[in-house]
């Protein structure tokens, strides 16, 4: 089965639950005391989609979103971006548009965007109407879901939807132009100078 590596980056204000969403997806657990700034370096999970395997390489912000100091490297080569807000905090929904703008500026042109309203388990203190968010997502042709990292609601569905939206053959990524990763034990084809 063909394996495709898909980089996915997370965006959104501090505290909306980005790290918790990734943690739920990759490790299927939830830590209410997750360290607010310290992130994970590199997270992966492979899921089957039709006759392909999609290996998600997930980039978390590691706190660099706090003062809007994400580096262009963060967006580089992403197949999808998950932009998260907190349904119990109106201002995290208003800043969503800035993250979309930032993504348009630095991200790849054909990136799949998913707008994610997290903490949907806290419906009684909701400040953002589902319909308003859905309308906004539709207006920018983005995926829309409400999730709960805490109660494992819609987390897998979010990634399945991303798989569905990603173009089936991406010629630009399979071209010979790709570089390589440095490995600890690189190829030891023996050449000697002279």
């Amino acid at each position: 089965m063909a394996l495709r590596e898909l980089k996915v980056c997370l965006l959104g204000d501090t505290g909306v639950g980005k790290s918790s969403i990734v943690w739920r997806f990759v490790e299927d657990s939830f830590d209410p005391n997750i360290n607010p700034t310290i992130g994970a370096s590199f997270m992966t999970k492979t899921v089957q989609y039709q006759n392909e395997l999609h290996k998600f390489l997930i980039w978390d912000t590691a706190g660099q979103e706090r003062f809007r100091a994400l580096a262009p490297m963060y967006y580089r080569g992403s197949a999808a971006a998950i932009i998260v807000y907190d349904i119990t905090k109106e201002e995290t929904f208003s800043t969503l548009k800035n993250w979309v703008k930032e993504l348009r500026q630095h991200g790849p042109p054909n990136i799949v965007v998913a707008i994610t309203g997290n903490k949907c388990d806290l419906n009684d203190v909701r400040e953002v109407l589902e319909k308003d968010a859905k309308d906004y997502a539709d207006s920018i042709h983005a995926i829309f879901v409400e999730t709960s990292a805490k109660n494992a609601i819609n987390i897998n569905e979010l990634f399945i939807e991303i798989s569905r939206r990603i173009p089936s053959t991406d010629a630009s990524l399979t071209s010979a132009g790709k570089g390589f990763k440095l490995r600890r034990q690189p190829s030891v084809t023996k050449h000697s100078c002279c």
């Binding site: 370096s41 999970k45 490297m73 132009g177 790709k178 570089g179 440095l182 050449h191």
Partner: protein, 446 residues
Amino acid sequence: MNEEYDVIVLGTGLTECILSGIMSVNGKKVLHMDRNTYYGGESASITPLEDLYKRFKIPGTPPESMGRGRDWNVDLIPKFLMANGQLVNMLQLTEVTRYMDFKMIEGSFVYKGGKIFKVPSTEAEALASGLMGLFEKRRFRKFLLSCTTFDEKDPKTLEGVDPKKTTMRDMYKKFDLGQDVIDFTGHALALYRTDDYLDQPCLETINRIKLYSESLARYGKSPYLYPLYGLGELPQGFARLSAIYGGTYMLNKPIEEIVFENGRVIGVKSEGEVARCKQLICDPSYVPNQVTKVGQVIRVICILSHPIKNTNDVNSCQIIIPQNQVNRKSDIYVCMISSAHNVAAQGKYIAIVSTTVETSDPEREIKPALELLEPVEQKFVSISDMYAPTDLGTESQVFISRTYDATTHFETTCDDIKDIYKRMMGSEFDFEEMKRKKCDIFGEDQ
């Protein structure tokens, strides 16, 4: 930012970002700020192309032939990574390499008698090379073998040479090597910029030759690597490492004052607020009164629509013009990369010429290199001062990095990092210190 930090770092150049990463990984609380809106300072790759035109005050906008501005990431300082060098070691130990993709530089060339020759990378290439005559080749081969098997701790391999006393000049004599071979060895393999090394003990030179041949052995075509999207990815990668270990990042922060108490740094003032710290790391631009000028480098960024002549149309290469060949004291370098590295629009090449300034007419000094590149579509010339700290930081606890020099690799940058680490921590830098302290890689790749 009204908090107390162990270390504040000013400037997001490569040196500062690597040190920031090391400090965070080792549990220090770090605040890292830059006055610019982007990462990288002097080691940034400029994008889009329009910004490069503005930066160099080229009138108008880039012509249509330059393609899309966003496809360009132009380094201000040309360098390659030695495949077996210290920076690659740091990238691997910290796993920052996971954030980046690399390509090999396809060839290394040396200038002799007005022409350029490939630095041989295989035995067959060496035999066919026009760089030296047949007898010289044999003697040179013996010399190389002796260098690569040289082990400081094993006297049997030394063949009567005292690595700490015998000069390199005497070492060359011992192997009966001629001037051309000496030039080629010292400048294209040991990568010295001047001939001062000849009268130094030979150990350093032998180690450099070993580094070259071990780097070459790793990937084959040349000893050099280059990251896709430009060198500016390197500081960004180490900044991410620092952030993952709790480092706080702020860009676009005007730095108003470095605050001292009894001659010792206690904080940094920005936008009216003071962040307190015990130690400060910064690049020379943040402390103009605590650095001294140590020289000048000229760098000319040239945009071409063709590969460099007589290089077999490689998409990337280095050309070294040894000082002797052009009656100078220091070598001239050309580093070329292209659209294959996601740094230029399709079909475009970026060749950067650089050297240490020796006269009052630096543009004239680099003419032999420019002649190799003709025709050049657009040139961007910079002549920049190099600075070094006047103060080692023992009293003030302010640790200042050195300006990037004219070398075309990162070995001297890594030496500076190790030196600053030692002054800050009071102990020798150990690469193991950079290893991630906890498991932070999850999923199938852990």
